[in-house]
């Protein structure tokens, strides 16, 4: 049974002069863990507030469990919040956790049952009587989550819940948070500026810009098949090359030529039809570019390189980023590409070295209509 349905939600501010959310339709199923991503000002916070009832939509309806709750106050919606800065009171863990139930006047047995259950889920049952002063940020957020669970809400709304944690701690805590949500059978909607976090633990991701939903898909689908340059780039740096359609092999096989003496690439595009000489942008993920030493013998290799597009390049930069090795390579026409390989990389390629680059067209190259404003499309702000 679908849990949250948004129908034509629009929210304007300043007497209609600012459109924060524009005609959004969205269904979130019971038990889903959903992320909303987008640059600042894209409308994601407004959308969260609309769902929770903190603000009223200008148009449209919100249905929870099939019931129209558009005009209902937040406390009637079975929604709890988890905040970036925890909002923990300087009282005991137990009092923090059961605060809302106490205020609402539930009977003692019920409060004890719910409170114990919530603290057990987050692993703080042994520390219920402590006052959480000087605690690490991870433990503080555990209290925040326990408090949300304790309220009995079915839906969690989380605004950057791991944003205040050190990156290292956040990267581990995200798995714990996912387990808690799944084990407690909660529906969760989370906003983050960490795309990797969203891909790692989200069931699916909604990408917004200018108040609209651009794409809503599983992490893999979104990452592999973005429906726009913006989405692809926002999900994790995309390499782009500007070029034009050089040859068409109907119905879906195109050869694009990269401008100013750059290489040619064969690309398959099943969705959009292009015309000869049409300006296009092709995009490839940094990890999908292969680099080989100049003397590499493709015929003697065990791997089948038949369908790869090869080109000449030179290594401009090389650096480690932890588990990945990054090369910046330059094509003959001066265009540069970012190449990411696992840190354990078999060839020792050095800066200045001439190499072969390769990209599998069918799997890894995407082709897009040339946007009106390429710079804006690639701007992550």
């Amino acid at each position: 049974m679908p849990d949250i349905i948004l129908k034509n939600i629009t929210k304007t501010f300043d007497e209609g002069r600012v459109i924060a959310v524009s005609d959004v339709n969205l269904t979130i199923n019971d038990g889903d863990y959903v992320f909303i991503l987008g640059p600042s000002g894209c409308g994601k916070t407004t959308l969260l507030r609309t769902i929770s009832g903190l603000i009223q939509p200008t148009f449209g309806n919100i249905l929870l469990d099939g019931k129209d709750v558009t005009d209902n106050p937040p406390q009637s919606r079975s929604i709890a919040f988890v905040f970036q800065d925890f909002n923990i009171f300087p009282i005991s863990v137990w009092e923090n956790c059961t605060y809302a139930l106490n205020v609402q006047g539930y009977d003692n047995d019920y409060i004890i049952e719910k409170g114990e259950e919530a603290l057990k889920i987050v692993g703080l049952e042994e520390r219920a009587d402590e006052i959480p002063i000087g605690w690490g940020n991870g433990d503080l957020q555990r209290i925040g989550i326990a408090r949300a669970i304790c309220s009995g809400a079915k839906i969690l709304i989380m605004d950057e819940p791991l944003g205040s944690l050190d990156p290292k701690i956040g990267a581990e805590f995200r798995w714990e948070l996912r387990n808690i949500i799944k084990d407690s059978k909660l529906t969760a909607i989370q906003v983050t500026h960490n795309q990797e976090e969203a891909m790692a633990v989200g069931d699916y991701i909604i990408v917004m810009r200018d108040g609209k939903i651009l794409q809503q898909d599983s992490p893999k689908q979104l990452y592999r098949f973005p429906n726009s340059l913006f989405v692809g780039n926002f999900l994790g740096g995309l390499n782009i090359l500007e070029g034009y359609i050089n040859h068409i092999n109907p119905p879906v096989n195109y050869t694009t030529k990269i401008r100013l003496g750059g290489p040619k690439f064969d690309i398959i595009s099943e969705k959009v039809q292009y015309e000869l000489d049409e300006n296009v942008v092709i995009a490839v993920r940094p990890e999908d570019i292969y680099v080989f030493p100049n003397e590499y013998d493709f015929d003697a290799s065990e791997t089948n390189w038949e369908e790869i597009n090869l080109f000449d390049a030179k290594i401009l930069e090389k650096f480690l980023t932890g588990k990945e090795l990054v090369f910046i390579i330059e094509l003959d026409n001066g265009d540069t590409l970012r190449v990411v390989k696992p840190e354990v990389f078999k060839y020792n390629l050095s800066v200045g070295e001439k190499i072969h680059g390769g990209i599998f067209s069918k799997h890894d190259l995407r082709i897009f209509k040339y946007p009106k404003n390429l710079q804006k499309e690639m701007d992550l702000q």
Binding site: H193, E196, M199, K220, E287
Partner: protein, 421 residues
């Protein structure tokens, strides 16, 4: 030309010991990263260098001059804060030149230096823009130019968590850009960059790992990554790690020396879970030593079948698979490895040497029955040459190359050290 030296520097604030006995040399024009978790003392350390704080004991030198008691404005040291702190009512050019206008009357010269700096940070043509009209990346470059402007040639620039508030994608590009500017031959800057992000730390010429007010390790990114001094440092510089404890059964000398010509040995370890595993390490262990060793998640490779006849192989059942973009994260539950031990000791076709690896005197079940199953977390690339569809429930064998295991003397409170607080 600034070479910074800290000699036995300690710092107390409100009676609390923040930094203890810091000894550190930062070479002229070096790009130094100071990395550590929240509360490690990073901000206090740069406060001491920039002159906002005075050390409780110890001395600071810029080149050979003792600057311990020199006020901040006489130190030729600029700080760029996380929030940029740009003047909202001044345009880009005036933001950059403001401080110098206050100091000198030669406004034309000030503007020409500012223009040159703006060119260097790729903001030529945007001189008239107000901060509110600039993207986050541009605002940051304005702040960087402004901090550099305050220095006389070849000063010290301190970057305090410069990329914290930015989206992940944007951060990648800015890191390269900022380092290029800082390293520019025109500026001759010595740079100190604070972060709590290990990926960002890797951009430094040298990394200082700070924890609880003490320096844990100083080294190049490669040294920190491949020869971490302890579990804390190896954990901090891993996205995820797997750890094993066990006993050394056999040792082989490796004739080729390792990093910095240090002699190496290959140790053959029987882990608590019954696996026979290899590790290449600096020569410091002997047979019978109890050790703990770690293998980062990205060093494992996975194959689709069960294989029990080889050492350094662990088989198990896939519990979870998660797509993470360039990487696929797989959780594997590996059973206690009786099968492996039995086959290795009975199979006559196995390399004769393998038989010697097994500790026949100990009954593994009796010795180690506390941890019968091992949860492994591995990451494999998702590129289409490398990717195989791994499915939950299938049995896979994982293996790694022995040079990627990092061995420590046995650590008994490992879970406590790795716990997320």
């Amino acid at each position: 030309m600034v070479r910074i030296k800290l000699e036995n520097v300690s710092f107390k604030k409100d009676g609390v010991q923040i930094l203890s006995n810091i000894n550190l040399t930062i070479e002229d024009q070096e790009y130094l990263i100071i990395v550590g978790p929240t509360g490690a003392g990073k901000t206090s350390l740069i406060g001491l260098i920039s002159g906002l704080y005075r050390p409780t004991s110890g001395k600071l030198f810029f080149d050979d001059e003792d600057i311990t008691n020199l006020p901040p404005n006489e130190r030729n040291c600029g700080v760029m804060f996380e929030s940029y702190a740009l003047f909202p009512h001044l345009n880009v050019l005036d933001n950059v030149s403001y401080a110098r206008h206050m100091q000198t009357n030669n406004h034309n010269e000030t503007y020409s230096i500012a223009e040159e700096l703006l060119h260097l940070v790729r903001l030529s043509g945007r001189e008239e823009a107000l901060p509110s009209e600039c993207s986050g990346g541009m605002q940051q470059r304005v702040a960087l130019a402004r901090s550099i402007m305050a220095l006389s040639k070849g000063g010290v620039i301190i970057l305090d968590e410069p990329f914290k508030a930015l989206d992940a994608g944007l951060r990648l590009n800015l890191r390269r850009e900022v380092k290029k500017i800082a390293k520019s031959k025109k500026l001759n800057l010595t740079t100190i960059h604070i972060t709590n992000d290990m990926q960002e730390a890797m951009m430094g010429d040298k990394i200082v790992v700070l924890d609880e007010g003490k320096i844990r390790q100083i080294g190049t990114p490669e040294e920190i990554m491949y020869s971490p001094i302890d579990l804390f440092v190896s954990n901090f510089f891993s996205t995820e790690l797997n750890h094993f404890s066990g006993k050394i059964l056999r040792i082989e000398d490796i004739p080729i020396p390792g990093y910095k010509k240090k002699p190496l040995q290959k140790v053959i370890i029987q882990s608590e879970e019954g696996y026979i595993l290899f590790a290449k390490t600096e020569k410091k262990f002997k047979i019978g030593d109890e050790v703990t060793f770690i293998i980062r998640s990205q060093y494992f490779k996975a194959r689709h079948r069960k294989r029990v006849d080889k050492t350094n192989n662990i088989f198990g059942t896939i519990l979870r698979v998660k797509f993470m973009g360039a990487w696929l994260r797989i959780e594997i539950e590996a059973p206690y490895n009786f099968e492996n031990l039995q086959i290795l000791s009975k199979n006559e076709e196995t390399n004769a040497n393998d038989n010697q690896y097994i500790d026949v005197n100990s009954n593994p079940q009796k010795t180690y029955n506390s941890n019968p199953k091992k949860l492994l977390k591995i990451e494999v690339p998702t590129t289409h040459i490398a990717i195989h569809d791994f499915t939950v429930g299938e049995t896979v064998t994982v293996f790694y190359h022995s040079q990627y295991a990092i061995v420590f003397p046995k650590i008994s409170n490992i879970d406590e050290i790795l716990k997320v607080h």
